[in-house]
Structures are given as C-alpha cells and as structure tokens.
C-alpha cells in the first residue's frame, strides 16, 4: 500500500513534551504519520527516540501534549488498550517472555493483543513463525534464543497482535548484512500487507530500503524531515547524527 496525501493520518503527535529532571527528551514534538506510510526516525543516542515510542504506546506518560490514533485521543489509554486498538511495538533490548516457548509468546500476544480465542490463533501464529524464520525454535524456551532469533521474536510477537501501526525499535542492530537483508524483506512484506511502519534505526541502509520518509530527532526536537537519502545529506543532520562538523 502506497500512502498518498489523501490517506488519513493513523498517528498524530501534538505538542508532546517530556523531561526527566533537567534533560528534555521531547520539546513540543508535532508529528503525523499517514496510513500505509513507512516512517524512519533517526537521531543520536539519547535523542529521545525510544522515549517517544514509549509515549506513543503508553508506557511513558508525556508531561504535555496529545497522542491521536486513527483520529481518537489515546493519551490517557493504557498500553494494553492501545495495543488492542492496533498499535504494536518491538523493544530495542528484546523482552521475550523467557519462561514461555516461542510459540506461546505469539499465542499470548495474539489472543490478548488481537482479542482472538486461543485456538483461533494457532494457525496464524504458526504462519508468522514460518515467515519470521522461527519455526525450528517454536517449542524452545524464548529465554534460550540467540540475539537474531530474539529480534525476530520481537517482530513476530508484534505481528501476532494484528497491528495497524507497527513501531520497530532498532530491530536491525547487531545483525549481519545477510540477516539484515532478510529482516528488510520481512518489514517490506508487512508494509505491503497494509501495516503502517514507524522504524527507529541506526542501520541506515536498512532504513533507506524501507522508509519513504525520515525524520531526525535531536535534543527533543525534530530537526529535519524528508526522503531518507536527502535527509542524511543535510549538514545539520550530518553534524548531530554522524559527528561530521558542518564546516567540514
């Protein structure tokens, strides 16, 4: 699905502010994501990207501002309710349900996140495991997975909730080129299925391959916006993100 100017915004952030003591991580952020879009979020470490995801999904409460999902104000809703409305996220540091099997991780997410009866989720969960390359580990404890498989599980579990909006937090970090290519194909496939993707990523080539628009977050503000290949050439972005001085 290709977004156009006519598609409605699925996610809108209006005047989002958040500070932890003296550190400002969101300083009046306004952002709109259209249905079917793939938005990349760039920014140096500590820019507030993961906190922004927390505020979108409800695990972090903003000091001010509103979060709208499909036009409805969800700022006061719990993370669980936002998930059931169609928001799913992966975590930067994988957070598996370690004592459950990989398959059970997906069944839990599908039956609560998508609100389906447990038995009704089995086929779909098996299908997601197959697509994410986790079928061989289906009956193994999630706590025993290696890093790549943990990252795959993050994505698979988010997909199990039947998301309309998928928030990916550095899922490509630590992967080899080959593994990264597999992941990019998978995210493209998800997007082609009509899911809106917002992706925080430091692995630029992965992000460029998927995102049709990129924003850059720095010091709690969005400092640049545009096509991925254009944005990284903006001098201010090169300075804050890659450490290249503007006069170089």
């Amino acid at each position: 699905m290709t977004p156009s100017a006519e598609t409605a915004p699925i996610l809108e952030l209006k005047g989002i502010r958040k500070r932890f003591g003296a550190v400002v991580v969101a300083d009046g952020i306004d952002l709109s994501v259209r249905e079917g879009e793939a938005l990349g979020i760039l920014g140096p470490n500590g820019a507030g990207k993961t906190t922004l995801f927390g505020m979108v999904t409800g695990t972090v409460r903003p000091d001010a501002g509103r979060v709208l999902f499909e036009g409805r104000d969800v700022t006061a809703l719990s993370p669980a309710r936002r998930c059931r409305q169609g928001m799913a996220r992966s975590f930067q540091v994988p957070q598996p349900f370690a004592g459950l099997t990989v398959f059970e991780n997906l069944v839990a997410a599908a039956s609560f996140g998508a609100g389906e009866g447990e038995r009704a989720t089995y086929d779909r969960c098996a299908d997601i495991l197959e697509r994410c390359g986790l079928m061989a580990q289906a009956n193994g404890r999630a706590g025993g997975l290696r890093l790549l498989d943990r990252k795959r599980l993050e994505l698979a579990r988010a997909l199990a909730t039947r998301p309309k909006l998928l928030l990916l937090d550095e899922v490509a970090g630590g992967l080899t080129e080959q593994e990264c290519a597999v992941l990019v194909d998978l995210v493209r496939e998800v997007r082609a299925g009509g899911v809106t993707v917002v992706w925080i990523e430091h692995v630029l080539h992965a992000l460029v391959a998927v995102a049709n628009r990129v924003v850059v977050l720095h010091g709690g503000r969005l400092i640049a916006e545009g096509r991925a290949d254009e944005v990284v050439r903006i001098p201010a972005v090169a300075e804050v993100y890659m450490g290249i001085p503007m006069d170089a």
Binding site: T57, G58, T59, S78, P79, A80, C83, R84, A88, R89, F91, Q95, P96, F97, A98, G99, L100, T101, F103, E104, N105, V107, A108, A109, S111, F112, G113, A114, G115, G117, E118, R119, Y122, D123, A126, L129, A138, N139, G143, R157, T161
Partner: protein, 347 residues
C-alpha cells in the same frame, strides 16, 4: 484441515496423569485402609499441598511473592467460627462463606499492596496479615487474644458421631485440595495462564501485547485468597479451636509453605505437590530430633536453592522432560493423511 496441531500433553503426561488419578482414588479410600491418626495426617498434607499450590500460583506464575498468605488462612478460619458461633450457620456452609468473605477482603488488600513491588510487596502483605491478627485479638466475641473453641452443639451439627465427622472432614480436605488444583490447572490451561506467565516474565512487554496486567493479577489474587481462606476454614474446623496466633501464624501458613514450594519447584504445578511429600517425609522421620530437625530443613532449603534453584521437580522436568499435567502448548506438524493408494493391497 490445518497442517499444524497443538499438543498439550507429552508422553510423560500421558503416563503421569493416569497414575495421579489412581493415587487420588487410593487416597479417597483412605478411611478404609488407615486409622484416625493417618487420616488426620493426610488431611494436613492436603491442606499444605493446596496452600503451597496457591502460593506457587501467586509467586511462580503471577510474580506476586507474598509473605502474607496467613492473612487469608486466618481470615477464613475466623469467618467460619464467627458465622457458626454468632449467626448459627452450619460450619460446612461456613467453608464456602469463608471463601466469599476472603474474596471481598482481598480487593482492598490488593488495592493497597499492589502499589508495592518486589520485596516491598512481600513485606506489605506480611504487615496486612499482622493487622488482621491484631484485629482478631480484639474480637472479644471469639475470645480475643486467647481464642475460643467450637461448642459441642456446633460440632455435633457437622455429622453424627466422631468417626463420621472425621471421615467427612477427611473427604472435604481431599476434595478441597483437588478443587484448588483443578482451578489452578484450568486457569493455567486457559489463555489467562499464558498472560500470567507473560506478566511474571516481563510486565512492560505483557502490557504492550494487550494484557491487562493489574486486572489479571487482581483476579488471581482474589481467587488465591478465597481458596486459602477455604483451606484455613477447614484446617480450623478439624482443630475445633481457634486463636489469633495460630490462625495468623506466619511460620505455619507461609514460611513452611514457601519452603515446600521452593524445594519442590516454583513455577510448575507439580513442584508444590512434590515439595509437600518431601516436607512431610522429613517431618515424620526427623521431628523427634527437636531443633536439629529445623536445622535439617534449613540445610535442605539452602542446598536446593544452590544446586537446584528450579526445585527438585524442576530438575527432573528439565532433564527428563517429565510432566504430569498437560499444560504445554507444543506446535506439531499434523501427520499426513493416508492416501487411498497407500491403503491398497499390494499386487
């Protein structure tokens, strides 16, 4: 037809479950093969198996490590004595009524203690239990701090004759333990069992997967409290006497219960049952050693925590794949259907 199928049982559970049912049938027939003392001991074993299973449900599945289970054991006992002595309710009806009272009391207790996390929650539940004990000690209608006994007329209303009463209470104790176990199994077999395990493993991720963490925990806490209260009511109905120190004893109804769950294995339904068997084996063989017996219990607990932190059943289950109750969800490929050609006689 779907190409996959989800199996709940394993080969071990297909053997273990029938053996467990045979054991239950043998125990149900205990009044015909053991004496009064034996029935009393078995009744005590059932009570501890139930309490340890409930503590395991809270700590091992819902991540609620409570040190205040005695609050609901004592509340159940006091509810039964109050309803029987003050309102004239038959003590047998007092058992479910005690469960109801505890379920109602568990809601404000949860509202208070769920604000706390980890060790603070554990201490908080203990404080609540102490408050309950102090309230009971002020309850002069039931003897205040020194407690009271059930009068002969109330005792007689349970059953005609001592032998009949002890048999009835024995079956009630077995039935209640089975009921508690069944309730736990049904809960864990449902999707709410997955939610509990998810909450235990990662609360933030569980919330992000659509699981209502606080509501799920509240439901389990209320259920466990109601069941603990019914067990407590039955324990003191067998004793026929109650006092605040006995009913709200942290040693008897929580410390020993934690010991049982730890040595058996937390986070597995079989763990507390095995732990109960080991505890009573140690108690019945070593209790004449006095304080040395308590030192042996401590040494066993330390050894298990150091060398088998998942408990004795945890070691067996991990190494041998043993499982009595079919709670797993194993994804398996469905065997291909026989084609008609494979059914033909060879030419």
């Amino acid at each position: 037809m779907s190409a996959i199928h989800v199996a709940h049982g394993t080969r071990a559970s297909r053997i273990g479950l029938p053996l467990f049912l045979v054991l239950l049938a043998v125990l149900a027939a205990a009044p015909w093969w053991t004496d009064r003392q034996g029935m009393r001991l078995l009744g005590e074993i059932y009570a501890y198996a139930a309490l340890a299973s409930l503590w395991n449900l809270l700590a091992g599945y819902a991540g609620l490590v409570t040190v205040g289970q005695q609050a609901f054991v004592g509340l159940g006992a006091y509810a039964l004595f109050s309803l029987s002595l003050l309102l004239g309710l038959n003590p047998l009806w007092g058992i479910p009524a005690a469960g109801l009272v505890a379920a109602l009391a568990a809601v404000p207790v949860a509202a208070l203690t769920f604000r706390l996390r980890g060790a603070y929650f554990a201490i908080g539940t203990w404080v609540v239990a102490e408050v309950f004990r102090l309230f009971a000690a002020q309850f002069t209608a039931l003897g205040g701090g020194s407690g009271t006994s059930l009068p002969a007329s109330v005792v007689a209303s349970i059953a005609s004759g001592r032998a009949a009463r002890e048999q009835l209470l024995y079956w009630l104790a077995l039935g209640l333990a089975v009921l508690v176990l069944l309730a736990i199994l049904l809960l864990l077999r449902s999707r709410h069992g997955l939610a509990l395990a998810a909450i235990r493993d990662n609360e933030v991720a569980a919330r992000s997967c659509g699981i209502e963490v606080d509501r799920t925990r509240l439901v389990v806490f209320v259920l466990a409290s109601a069941c603990a209260a019914m067990v407590g009511a039955l324990i003191f109905l067998q004793k026929l006497r109650i006092s605040p120190d006995a009913a709200f004893s942290v040693n008897d109804w929580t410390a020993l219960v934690i010991f049982i769950a730890v040595i058996g294995g937390i986070g597995r339904v079989e763990g507390p049952l095995i732990g109960t068997a080991i505890f009573f084996l140690l108690r019945e063989t070593l209790s004449q050693l006095g304080s040395l017996y308590l030192m042996v219990l401590g040494a066993v607990a330390i050894a298990v925590m150091l060398f088998a932190p998942r408990g004795l059943w945890g070691v067996l289950a991990d190494r041998l794949g043993w499982q009595v109750f079919p709670l797993a969800r194993r994804l398996e490929a469905r065997p291909p259907m026989l084609s008609t050609s494979s059914l033909r006689e060879p030419s």
